[in-house]
């Protein structure tokens, strides 16, 4: 974390993460080039670059898309999420080399502008098998560019986490475009069944992981019983249901709330991290601060404020403890409002 602008904020974990990423990329590039020269060395350098970069980008894109649901299904994978931004920017760089090479190779030095050529050379927009697949790749590239260019906390802070997150959800639109780019492009030429199987399995693994994670979330929402509400407070659970230094998360009165138990006290804050809208309630109290499981952003439980010099703030909620039952008032206080923690055992 940093409260000032830094181009890339390195730490030992990120360096290790990037070393493994570099190793994976080297494996893809060396394996593909090596196999290509073993089986058909007649490939041109340009085609070798185009295919190596596209395959690397597609491998990375699938891995990037799987990390999110994987962490929802098993939090042990959260370290993969922490530096996903570097994965994304690296994927973009490979996609950019692929795109630029393709534009130069197939569309430049002709009788019309190369960008116009992408849209106007093959105009069979009303067919499926002859559809100009380059158009899908072009728009996917624009989305990846937008995402890579804003993959920095500077933009996250200036655009606001909700807008930034929604904009970065465009990755799913880009993924759909890439699947169409492959299916209506290279697979219309390299049309053996094995390639279709690879594409379907790849798409199925991404879609399947998201469906499984969505099913888990849906189950959590379905398990949210109708809470008894008295004098504006909802009865949530027994104090014993909340582990020490952890939270119980509830969706009540339209509010997503995390109730933390720590140091024999209870405090409630909004369950959405102000950094990248991570699930604060799946975090822990570390050194007296609520710590987000995604990127380690921290907040004081009693007022929802990040410790100085950081400025992020969460809404807080009033709590009551009646016998051993925890009650919460789902009406949020303004972000950063101090609420006296409820002491347990008094």
């Amino acid at each position: 974390m940093s409260n000032t602008y830094t181009a890339v904020l390195w730490n030992p974990f990120k360096k290790k993460y990037d070393r493994i990423l570099a190793l994976a990329i080297a494996l893809i590039v060396v394996s593909f080039i090596g196999l290509q020269f073993i089986f058909d060395a007649n490939i041109t350098v340009e085609t070798l670059i185009i295919r190596t970069t596209s395959l690397t980008a597609v491998f990375l894109l699938h891995f990037i898309l799987i990390i999110g649901p994987l962490c929802r299904l098993n939090p042990s994978f959260l370290p993969l999420l922490y530096n996903r931004r570097h994965l994304g920017v690296t994927m973009f760089l490979f996609a950019a080399v692929h795109s630029i090479f393709c534009i130069i190779q197939f569309h430049a030095l002709g009788d019309i502008n190369p960008i116009s050529s992408i849209f106007l050379s093959n105009t069979k927009y009303l067919t499926i098998s002859q559809f100009p697949f380059q158009v899908f790749g072009f728009f996917a590239f624009l989305i990846f560019f937008l995402m890579a260019a804003t993959s920095h906390d500077f933009w996250l802070k200036n655009l606001g986490p909700r807008f930034w997150k929604n904009m970065h959800m465009l990755v799913y639109v880009a993924y759909a475009l890439i699947i169409l780019h492959i299916a209506l492009g290279i697979l219309q030429y390299e049309n053996k069944l094995v390639y279709w199987i690879l594409l379907i399995v790849s798409f199925g693994s991404v879609a399947g992981m998201h469906l499984a994670a969505g099913w888990k979330e849906r189950k959590w929402l379905a398990d949210q019983r109708k809470y008894v509400i008295e004098n504006g407070y909802a009865e949530i659970c027994s104090i014993n249901e909340i582990p020490d230094d952890c939270a119980k998360t509830v969706f009540v009165g339209g509010q997503n709330i995390a109730i933390f138990k720590y140091d024999n006290k209870l405090s409630a804050v909004n369950n959405v991290c102000r950094h990248q809208m991570g699930p604060i309630g799946e975090g822990k109290i570390i050194d007296g601060c609520i710590t987000c499981p995604w990127h380690g952003y921290q907040y004081l439980p009693e007022n929802g404020q990040s410790p100085p010099p950081f400025t992020e703030k969460l809404e807080t909620y009033q709590l009551r403890l009646v016998k051993d039952q925890v009650w919460v008032n789902p009406k949020p206080n303004a972000e950063g409002t101090y609420v006296e923690p409820v002491k347990i055992g008094q």
């Binding site: 730490n11 994978f77 530096n83 190779q105 002709g110 009788d111 050529s117 390639y195 230094d245």
Partner: protein, 260 residues
Amino acid sequence: MSTANKDFFIGWLGNTSDVQKRSIQRLLIPVFVAIPLILFVIVFFAKSFGTGVFELGKVKEFSGTYYDEPFPVLILDEGPLEAGIDRHALLVGFGKHGAKTFTGTAEKTHGKLHGKRLKIQGTLIYSEEKTLIELTKKEQSILSVEGGTPQPAIKTERKKVSLQGEILDPKCWFGVMKPAEGKVHKSCAIRCISGGIPPVFRHRTDAGNVYYVLKGLNGEDINHEVLGFVGEGVKVNGNAYEVNGWKVLEVDPTKISYSG
């Protein structure tokens, strides 16, 4: 950090627990094994790239007699030729342009080039006993022009044929790009043919590919008329003959149909 928190990962602390390390290893090791296997499948089942050659970066000098019609050909002078090179070299321009894009400057100085002896510089493209020369240096590709009496090109008799095949751009097909056919190369081939490179019809036979330069029924260029059929299976009817070492097929472009 307390023992209870040891499994809770904080990126900037880098405190990956043993449980997390094991989980990630169980994911990454199979991924690292799968990558070369998937790539093996992708490469092993891919279509062959063919043996076309484009001598990129090797600009050479050539002398011969130039024929402007029915399409630009330089018939190279008698003498030894490099292996794989045919004497009847189809001329194409730099980039996605026909040769005629760059012969205009020389014609302003020397008049019509048809039938004259030329010394040019360019880059060889060849495969399947067909040779093309790219005018890599654009207008500067024509080094000298010697006058001469234009000799009419010797044509064989016309024969009616009905063939199935694919319309390609010969510059890419004979060596510049791989692959240079089908959907993946369609847009590029359209740009090349639109830019003046003569469209070539490839007909597959048991003995190998047979290539015809496509012209209209009156010998006119039909580059723009065939653009909608490039890179797809088509059926053509027309009159075939041979001139300057190349087969020519004169067709009515409105009667070209898809063969599926």
